[in-house]
């Protein structure tokens, strides 16, 4: 038999031993790796959001810091100046406008929320009834019951989480400025030392790709955040013209959901429309609010002004990729994941595009250039 396979007894024994050892060491590595990743996961559990937020903040503040930096003012001092300016600005705003009446708004919302939900459910079940009339084979889904229970539990969760999230917000207020200070001051040095770890053969490529990726990333993040901010302000102003209540909260929702492309704005305008329908009825004000949400904020401002100016320079994701990113992010991290998913997908996209471009530029030189580097 051995002569058929062409192996002696000793060789078979060695092969057997090697395979066993490989499997054993594979299992050992796998188990130790999973413990290590579990340890890492518990160690970094609460740090994901603060680090992400401080990265975003440092990307946003970088141009401002750069504005103050000069011959006489070094970077650290310039960061301190920017921090001082921002904190005093916030303080001044609080002094002038006064702290927003969060408590009253919260309590009013607590009282009003069930009313809005029940109206929405009524409307929806009416729709369902109509649908059942036309398509009798649709089984009674009992949508109203499910929706109301889901919304009740959701609202209860918000109320329960508020004190806890107050603590989290407090820790964020402490951690984010601290982290972003160091990111602002030392990001160049950190990235330099990381890049210097690459092997000599790939060093130039990694340096170039990093420069491109960081340029794209900074423009992407700044563009997105500015876009959301402007949309929020415009929605606030538009809603303030009507008698609708909770305009600030609705504006915040509209701005935050605007970070999720395609689906975000649709979800963002839902609460506003529901509140408008219930409180103001199907009058002129409702149509004006719809106009604010759809025509002014989305079509005019976002499509024709903001996206061409802010984001067009950055390579955009394919719509399919956007939807995939939203679904996968939502599965992983819930609502936060939906907001973060698209930027993370875009970052990966930018990486892939840059590396591919760089690889291409490494290859076809003999087609486009002479040996001496002149264009053919």
């Amino acid at each position: 038999m051995n002569s058929q396979t062409g192996m002696s007894r000793a060789q078979v024994a060695v092969l057997y031993l090697v395979l066993t050892m490989a499997i054993a060491s594979g299992i050992a590595i796998y188990s130790s790796a999973s413990t290590v990743t579990a340890l890492l996961k518990t160690a970094t559990a609460g740090l994901f959001l603060p680090i992400l937020l401080s990265l975003i903040v440092s990307y946003l503040l970088d141009p401002v810091v750069y504005f103050f930096e000069g011959e006489k003012i070094n970077r650290t001092l310039s960061i301190f100046i920017v921090y001082f300016l921002f904190f005093s600005l916030g303080f001044l705003l609080l002094l002038i406008i006064g702290p927003p009446n969060w408590k009253g708004m919260m309590q009013a919302l607590k009282a009003d929320f069930p009313r809005y939900i029940s109206h929405a459910i009524e409307y929806l079940s009416g729709l369902l009834m109509a649908a059942q009339e036309h398509f009798p084979f649709i089984t009674n889904y009992n949508l109203a019951e499910r929706l109301s229970s889901a919304s009740q539990s959701f609202f209860g969760l918000i109320l329960k989480e508020t004190p806890r999230s107050a603590m989290r917000i407090g820790s964020l207020l402490l951690l984010v400025p601290l982290f972003s200070f160091f990111f602002l001051r030392d990001s160049r040095r950190i990235m330099r030392s990381l890049i210097s770890l690459t092997p000599n053969r790939y060093f130039e490529m990694v340096l170039d790709v990093y420069a491109h990726v960081s340029w794209q990333l900074s423009h992407f993040i700044r563009g997105r955040i500015l876009e959301a901010l402007i949309i929020g302000i415009v929605v606030w102003m538009g809603l303030s013209l009507t008698d609708i209540r909770y305009a600030p909260i609705l504006a915040i929702i509209a701005g935050a959901t605007n970070l999720v492309p395609y689906i975000g704005p649709l979800i963002g305008m839902l609460p506003g429309l529901v509140i408008a329908l219930v409180d103001l009825g199907m009058g002129g004000q409702f149509w004006w609010i719809l106009c604010v949400y759809v025509l002014i904020a989305q079509v005019l401002l976002d499509n024709f002004i903001l996206i061409p100016i802010l984001i067009s320079k950055v390579s955009n994701l394919h719509p399919l990729g956007v939807i995939l990113a939203i679904v996968m992010g939502g599965k992983l991290y819930g609502i936060v994941g939906m907001i973060i998913g698209v930027p993370i997908f875009s970052i990966l996209n930018i990486f892939i595009i840059e590396i591919r471009q760089n690889r291409r530029s490494f290859n076809p030189y003999n087609r486009y250039f002479t040996n001496r580097g002149k264009l053919l």
Partner: protein
């Protein structure tokens, strides 16, 4: 002197620093100490083994290298794969400066012949430096420009003499 005493009375060690090395380069010789410290922060020090490729002919380059210690061989390779050596560079020499200002393919390959320390100055760092610290960057670029235009001048002079020689040869052939 006894090495023990020479160690005690050794100078501050400035001669050993990267800044001093950079100040000995012809293109950086006009920089003052602050600008040298700035330059020190934008260059990358890379360590190479013997017989390691620095870059290959035709690759898109992204910057220039200066040799701090060791030796670098510059060579071309033709279609048959035969190598022709263009130059052997020693500490203090520099190469690849064409790619510093624009992403052009390298016109020759470079490889180390012994353990080598190279100091690289790259386009992306230079572009950022120009944006953030225009004055020292302008001085660095001027120094580079001076060296490159010196080379260009020498090249064109050589070309002139070669042309003259060629014309003379043609005349001689016509006469014969």
């Amino acid at each position: 002197m006894n090495p023990f005493w020479s160690n005690i009375f050794h100078s501050s060690g400035y001669e050993e620093t990267l800044a001093y090395f950079l100040s000995t380069m012809p293109m950086f010789k006009n920089l003052d100490k602050r600008e040298l410290a700035f330059l020190e922060n934008i260059v990358h020090v890379r360590n190479y083994e013997a017989d390691e490729s620095v870059f290959g002919e035709g690759e898109i380059g992204s910057g220039m290298y200066t040799i701090r210690s060791g030796q670098v061989q510059i060579y071309n390779r033709d279609e048959q794969g035969r190598e022709t050596e263009q130059a052997v560079l020693e500490p203090g020499d520099f190469f690849g400066e064409i790619s510093l200002t624009a992403s052009r393919p390298r016109c020759a390959s470079a490889r180390t012949t012994e353990t080598t320390v190279l100091v690289g100055l790259f386009r992306t760092d230079m572009l950022e430096a120009v944006r953030r610290h225009p004055a020292p960057s302008a001085k660095i670029m001027l120094g580079l420009n001076r060296v490159v235009s010196d080379r260009l001048l020498q090249c064109s002079l050589q070309l002139e003499t070669l042309k003259k020689q060629l014309a003379d040869d043609h005349k001689q052939q016509a006469n014969e």
